[in-house]
Symmetry: C2
Subunit: 268 residues, 2 copies
């Protein structure tokens, strides 16, 4: 397989450049991309070092590298654009049409890439602490504060989904694990009933659940395929009966489930 | 302040479109951007509904909206591009130059935006579970498995940073809270000593620490400014003496600290 170096450059963290870059590069098969990250390039001196690095990589590889950059500082961007590489400048391509459309000059302020205000950021951290505080159990008083309460069998993905919802969207997400007691009772516990309108469920294929549980507790009843089948069927049955919207984690990423849940929330 | 609607459209989650879009829009002051998310637009039927929505928003606002999109499916993208909006197509702009440079046709496969392989994804989830399992304490046997061990006083941001490192980069990050016992002893506990090469620290301004702790335990010794000053100074002193690299969380986001830590890791 051909190999090619891709350099992600930013005056911020470079996370956006790399995320979008990964999406672009995943469209090309048969090339083995070698990632190099050069974040926080926020001075002319660092830009010069960057250029030397780009040249050295090109010489080493025998072919010019790809550069994917999000650079707020136009002065630094202009220097970097003279490098011997294919330059994909995510900002340059879009700032000009936006300036024209909005009839406003952009501020070209570095370090604003995440676009988060301090308040938004504090909300995300608060939401994350909320999700963590609710991971071990559920306090009835605090359920009231939750924006969303996720139910599902153990290891169906509730905790990662809650954490992602908090870190990405600032949503306060609590989770309640469905256990055999709930299935025998045939309904959600009384503590959850007042909050029916913010209950959402997760489900998962029993085979995948077995694999996940097996890593945690090998050869236990808990991780047996038979038990996983029973729990998943009972949980789905309970959620159907209670008319709870639920999402199938099988073959879906947490990101996708989180966005689908957000969409459902907004519609309802 | 002027108001303008921005619509994020994707055949995936749209998270990349929104992240990059937020960065672009943060460059424009004096405009109040109203966000609309339209993810999972993966059929011609949904594209048609999208267009109606765009038209309706334009009519309601009295001005055409901005559309920021990451669309793998070129057929759907072509339809959407005829909408009455300023269209910023993050993929269109870059796929063509990449095809030329790599001398390969892109696959135009939808749903690949995150570019994560199943293995990579499993690593991220495993790392997240690792971070969570280590939040309450530290088991000596498991410290060995950690890629990174973060130390710092209570509420200095260790847990959010560990979780971000796991979710974004798949790093196994454990954390160890520095407590008065450690300061009195004047060195790290013996359990940590074998892992000195993967210890990194966090610090924070005492005033900010006080605010964070105050929300959790108001008017306690724990949250008093005097105690916060003592703990932060003692922790920094300990980290200096042990020659541990540490990062100042004050006025920095978790994303930034995580990327800086990753850089330091790679250099060392």
């Amino acid at each position: 397989m051909r190999s090619r170096t891709v350099i992600f450059i930013s005056d911020g963290t470079g996370i956006t450049a790399e995320t979008l870059g990964n999406g672009l590069l995943s469209q090309f098969e048969g090339v083995d991309f070698q990632h190099v990250r050069l974040p926080f390039i926020d001075s002319m001196e660092k830009a010069a070092q960057c250029q030397q690095r780009i040249t050295a990589i090109g010489r080493h590889d025998g072919i010019r590298p790809l550069v994917i950059m999000t650079m707020m500082n136009t002065e630094i961007a202009t220097v970097l654009r003279t490098s011997d590489a294919l330059i994909l400048d995510l900002f340059e391509a879009f700032i000009a049409p936006l300036e024209q459309e909005l009839n406003t000059r952009s501020t070209h302020t570095a370090g604003r890439l995440h676009g988060h205000s301090t308040r938004e950021y504090a909300n995300r951290i608060e939401a994350m602490n909320f999700a963590l505080a609710h991971d071990d159990g559920i306090s009835a008083a605090k359920l009231k504060q939750a924006d969303v309460i996720l139910v599902g069998v153990s290891r169906s993905g509730k905790t990662p989904t809650c954490l992602y919802l908090s870190l990405q969207f600032g949503l306060k997400a609590a989770n309640y694990p469905l256990i055999p007691e709930d299935f025998e009772r045939g309904r959600f516990p009384d503590t959850l009933l007042p909050f029916r309108d913010k209950l959402y469920g997760l489900t998962i294929a029993p085979e995948q659940l077995q694999r996940i549980r097996h890593e945690r507790k090998p050869n236990s009843k808990y991780s047996s395929l038979e038990n996983c089948r029973y729990e998943v069927a009972a949980a789905e049955n309970l959620m159907d009966k209670s008319n709870i919207t639920y999402f199938d984690m099988t073959a879906r990423s947490i990101e996708e489930i989180a966005v689908r849940l957000l969409q459902t929330l907004k519609r309802e």
